[in-house]
Amino acid sequence: MPLTKGAFEGVDWPKHLGAYVVSGSRHQPRLQGYEVQSDLARYYSFAEVALASLIGEIPSESVAQAFNTALVFLAPVSITEAPAHAARLTQLIGGDAAGVVATTAVALAEASRFLVEEHLALLAALNDGDEQLPELFRTESEAQREAVKRLLTALPSDLMVSFLDQDPTLNAALICVLFACGLRHEQELVAILTTARLPCAIAEGIADPNPHFERYPTNTPEFHYEP
């Protein structure tokens, strides 16, 4: 007997899916209204297009430069960090290309979520227009101060970025730069932190030309069974 009257049958569901970013035909798409193949591809970098996707507008020259600088600062992922380490293990176990990428992306998304959640008070201060950097995000490290100085040197001088003169940690400074580029929400920040770091984490994961279980430091760190 055909089943025709269930929970979903009594609703007049919409027939169309809403699109907000990409339009046009599949062979000649537009992104936020800009023609991709004859306009964006000709005049803009990938970083600018990625930012335009999220904020809805082509960024100004100085925002684009600041965004690109932040992406480059964020890009390196050491093999000591869980996402690249997870990529290496996936490769070692024999995961296929999609398995390596998906595992690395999940680990990076988790790392990004963790970082953003630790900086929610900073995000609130930025959104509220506070004048003082919350104490939690001030660095006591000379190495970090130097890193933030290098960031400042690479940023365009005409872009206003909050708190950079108040001794922020490098992560806090980078979040302030991304905020100044128009990324104001947790989801946008997690998206960009993950995207910026994905190529390098995957590259480090798959770089070992001869992966072998015997050459992998299985007991680092050491696990002690204490039932």
Partner: protein, 283 residues
């Protein structure tokens, strides 16, 4: 408690790195008989424990007798909805459309964890029940105390464990209730509290309880805490996703990989030239 310095910053500060030793209770590869949560698999567990008793051990709980393990099995079966139009299952279908079931299932777990549905709802409903249990105590006027407490909690935007869209009652909770009664678990404290809370909220707001509330009560009555529910709930809710992941991968329908363009309702910015294209054109 003062706020903690972000560890994502502190970690990079430590020149020596963090300690390189981690204690584990999960298991040990003995080489002859794997250890699992303090038991030898072959000598102690195999042939004696059910899947759900092993799940209990996995999350740090006790070995379960047949009735207790059967209750967890009943919960999983009660919740085994598999209609691919159910939103998380449609998500499984989308990912499976490229031909592999396991990544599709992984996407289900990633999406549901921290969402407003599934085990996250059960976990949050369990926090509500724990809170209510504390305020209800030995009170005689339980429903009145519950309603007062719920009024105080109005800042919570979502009342987890409540709300039944598209049908008059949650058939999964109805099914679970029958099994709870049959197994003799209906007199347990969190189940009774869940019934009281369900009655109060139905009377005061017209909103009906769903299986997240019942599942939370079942877990709490068996001694499992909210953190363990993430894992138990994910395992319990995997039947419908597995069914959809496999069938979806087998079918791999093109219409799910890409809907026809005619199905799109574009609501973004109108067509426009970029600033650099405009400048180039005007030069």
């Amino acid at each position: 408690m003062s706020p903690k310095k972000p560890s994502s910053t502190e970690g990079s500060e430590k020149e020596q790195g963090p300690g390189l030793s981690i204690a584990t209770r999960t298991g040990w590869a003995s080489g002859t008989d794997n250890h699992f949560r303090g038991y030898a698999i072959g000598a102690d567990l195999l042939g004696k424990e059910s899947f759900w008793s092993m799940m209990s051990l996995a999350v740090g709980g006790p070995r379960l007798d047949d009735n207790a393990a059967g209750m967890l099995s009943d919960l999983a079966i009660s919740a085994a909805a598999a209609d691919p139009r159910i939103w998380p299952l449609k998500l499984v279908r989308l990912v499976a459309a490229y031909g592999r079931p396991v990544p599709a299932l992984a996407s289900f777990f990633l999406t549901m964890d921290g969402s407003m549905l599934g085990w996250t709802a059960a976990k949050k409903a369990s926090l509500l029940l724990l809170d209510l249990a504390e305020v209800v105590g030995d009170a005689d006027n339980i429903e009145e105390v519950i309603w007062q407490r719920l009024q105080q909690r109005r800042d919570s935007r979502t009342l987890y464990g409540f709300g039944v869209p598209l049908r008059p009652a949650d058939e999964r909770l109805v099914a679970l209730t029958g099994r709870v009664e049959e197994r003799g678990f209906a007199a347990r404290p969190y189940w009774r509290l869940s019934l009281s809370a369900a009655a109060v909220i139905l009377r005061e707001t017209g909103i009906k309880a769903n299986i997240a509330l019942g599942g939370a009560a079942v877990y709490l009555d068996q001694g499992f805490g909210p953190e363990q529910m993430d894992v138990l709930g994910a395992a319990a809710l995997s039947l419908g996703p597995w069914a959809n992941a496999l069938e979806g991968a087998q079918q791999a329908p093109e219409c799910l990989r890409r809907l026809p363009d005619s199905m799109i309702d574009y609501r973004g910015p109108e067509a426009r030239p970029s600033p650099r294209a405009t400048k180039d054109r005007n030069a």
